[in-house]
């Protein structure tokens, strides 16, 4: 599929034709300011040492790369390693980015942060980092998501964050982002928007990727130490796409490493029934390049350019657009994307729980289901790293209904 933009611009933050900066003018200067602060932080030794100290001593990095021996045996396919981001403080990879951006907010002199959250993992990470750094924090969350991720709402409130329910639209992640952006555009002079995924206007997709790239850097070293070779396949779930790009990024130059992003196939292929933006080959309908919430990327929408509602059992994957770098990796066929159903994800969650004693987040369960569905395609000596991006505590309500 080709881009409908007639020429690629020279603006920064482009991934092929995707990305860019499509925001109301009020946010442009704050975005430039953020970009400058971020660029400066890259070579600022004190920023970097604080960042790495917090990753290690507050968040708990490095995370293990665990050989999943019983899962490997049970599936009878490739050797499977799990990158255990679920063991991080607050329970998911989201804390990596929240620490990075929290420190940037301090550096920019912004005493207040706003964030959106779907599953609540990014909200909890932001709230926790805000408490740790002494920042005021407001998190917007769709009321649909507040109901299905109640534990995370309580955690955010426990650390002193104000959680504001969003009643508009489908009352999920997309609507929470709209509301967070409205808050940011209003309070932009003292507020940093701590966006949780590789979405939005430049510099967010690049910056969030860089903060998450620690996942792949560690995993690459760890697999080389354990197996003396590179993996043949990487698996990760893709909502906005931050845990997947975090794992993929360090391997982009390794042509032999296949990268597979797993989207939410929901309960059907019709528009409104799923959140699969790049899985058109499987018959999922409605995704075309377009502009949503600051960036040009694949977006689920109708023919008039109105953004579609989405469905996924997983709040963290329930979003109509995908990070612009993923759109580009898909067009280039550097990464592959496919979708699995709600039911397949639930089955995969049970499988991992019972073979490895690890209850995964519903989001991460999609990656496991994606691997299971590809079993016939593997060769015996294939070697997989699967990013176990989050733990399942927050999903126990959903899981217990299945027991």
């Amino acid at each position: 599929m080709s881009s409908i933009l007639q020429s690629s611009t020279t603006a920064p933050g482009r991934f092929g034709p995707y990305g860019g900066r499509y925001v109301p003018e009020t946010l442009m200067v704050p975005l430039f300011e953020l970009e400058r602060a971020y660029e400066a932080a890259k070579s600022d030794a004190s920023f970097q040492s604080r960042f790495h100290d917090l990753l290690k001593n507050f968040a708990g990095r490095p995370t293990p790369l665990q050989f999943a021996s019983r899962l490997t045996e049970k599936l009878g396919g490739p050797r499977i390693y799990l990158k255990r981001e679920d063991l991080l403080h607050t329970g998911a990879h989201k804390i990596n980015n929240a620490i990075g951006q929290g420190l940037l907010a301090v550096k920019m002199g912004k005493p207040r942060i706003v964030a959106e959250t779907g599953a609540g993992q990014h909200g909890v990470a932001s709230a926790t980092v805000a408490a740790h750094l002494g920042l005021e924090c407001v998190v917007y969350m769709g009321t649909e998501d507040m109901a299905r991720q109640a534990l995370n709402v309580a955690r955010m409130r426990m650390v002193g964050t104000q959680v504001i329910g969003v009643e508009s639209g489908s009352r999920t992640l997309k609507d929470a982002i709209n509301e967070a952006m409205r808050d940011w555009v209003t309070n932009v002079r003292n507020t940093h928007y701590l966006l949780g995924s590789v979405l939005g206007a430049h510099p967010y997709p690049t910056m969030v990727r860089d903060f998450q790239a620690v996942i792949g850097r560690e995993a690459r070293e760890q697999i080389l130490a354990a197996e003396k070779r590179l993996p043949t396949h990487l698996f990760a779930c893709v909502g906005g796409g931050s845990n997947s790009i975090g794992l993929f990024h360090q391997f982009l130059g390794d042509a032999s490493v296949k990268m597979i992003g797993i989207e939410a196939g929901g309960r059907g292929a019709g528009l409104g029934e799923h959140a699969a933006r790049l899985a058109a080959r499987q018959g999922f309908s409605g995704a075309r390049p377009g502009v949503l919430q600051g960036t040009y990327t694949y977006v689920l929408q109708n023919e008039d350019g109105q953004i579609a509602t989405t469905h996924s059992i997983s709040a963290g994957l329930d979003y109509p657009a995908i990070g612009p770098e993923h759109a580009w990796l898909a067009d280039q066929r550097r990464a592959e994307y496919s979708a699995v159903s709600d039911q397949a994800a639930l089955d995969a969650a049970r499988l991992l729980s019972r073979t490895e004693g690890i209850i995964p987040a519903l989001e991460s369960a999609h990656a496991i289901a994606g691997l299971v569905e590809r079993l016939p395609q593997f060769k015996k000596d294939d070697l997989v790293i699967l990013n176990l991006s989050g733990r399942g505590d927050k999903d126990m309500d959903t899981y217990s209904r299945l027991l």
Binding site: M28, V291, G305
Partner: protein
């Protein structure tokens, strides 16, 4: 460059007339399709007759992130009634059968992009629209858009904001034709009680970088606001206050009556407030 093309539009002509009579213009915004496109046709003709100088027709969008609750709800009602960008363009054609009021299409970028820039520009121009404003499009991302709109003699109106530097205001004005739309405050659309204290300074900064007429919007609803702006701007944009009249009204007739009253009182304030000439240095 653009000035030659824009001089010929209804928008520029209207601003030239306003300038000649030292009168503040009233730009009105309503969301097209709220509650129906037929009702919008009636509202536009009513607004024009009551004295609106320029009419912005909002194209409803599912994710209006620059809008406050009033226009969000209007957008939802319009989408529910089945309004699409193609339907709004058809509405423009119907308006042109009985009115020559300057019309600006006020949209988020995605509906325009999905129709295709060329197809949109050609349809908008042939329907009789005068200008286009895309809320989430800035000079940096708009090279193709500007070229194609200009080819079809459509004014491109961009937003200037309180956070814009002088350098950016100059760039934004350089990409704009017809008028420059200055956002009065950081925030989303919606009626407010008072104008921000730093608005005169923002207007002075904008004046120093452009000769284009300047319309000020976001938070303007009352005749008192208009009187104050009479000394400073070329036009005031009133949106949410009108949209909420439509929302409150029990019928299309009642809404039309309320809109006409609102615009007449704003226009009255514009005519009798301080004129720009009187206070301009």
């Amino acid at each position: 460059m653009s000035v030659a093309a824009s001089n010929s539009t209804r928008i520029s002509k209207r601003f030239a007339e306003l300038r000649a009579s030292a009168e503040l213009g009233i730009v009105t915004y309503i969301t097209a399709g709220d509650p129906s496109l037929d009702a919008t046709l009636r509202f536009v003709l009513t607004l024009a007759e009551a004295g609106a100088d320029v009419i912005e027709l909002g194209v409803p969008f599912s994710d209006p992130l620059a809008d406050g609750p009033t226009i969000q709800r209007a957008s939802e009602r319009a989408l529910k009634s089945g309004a699409t960008l193609a339907g709004v363009l058809d509405l423009v054609r119907r308006i042109r059968k009985s009115s020559q009021v300057p019309l600006v299409l006020f949209s988020y970028y995605n509906p325009i992009l999905q129709m295709g820039l060329e197809k949109f520009a050609s349809a908008a121009a042939s329907a009789g629209a005068d200008g286009v404003l895309a809320t989430d499009l800035t000079p940096e991302e708009s090279e193709d858009y500007r070229r194609i709109m200009r080819l079809h003699n459509l004014d491109t109106i961009f937003l200037g904001a309180p956070t814009s530097t002088d350098e950016r205001l100059a760039k934004i004005a350089g990409c704009s034709s017809g008028f420059l739309y200055l956002i009065s405050r950081t925030g989303v659309t919606g009626a407010k009680d008072s104008l921000p204290d730093d608005l005169p300074a923002l207007l002075r900064r904008a004046r120093s970088v452009t000769v284009l007429p300047i319309a000020v919007g976001f938070g303007i609803s009352l005749p008192g606001h208009v009187s104050v702006l009479g000394g400073l701007a070329d036009a005031a944009v009133v949106g949410s206050a009108l949209v909420s009249e439509i929302e409150k009204a029990k019928s299309v007739d009642a809404a039309a009556t309320a809109l006409a009253e609102r615009v007449r009182s704003l226009k009255e304030a514009a005519r009798h407030g301080l004129s720009r000439r009187e206070v301009a240095p």
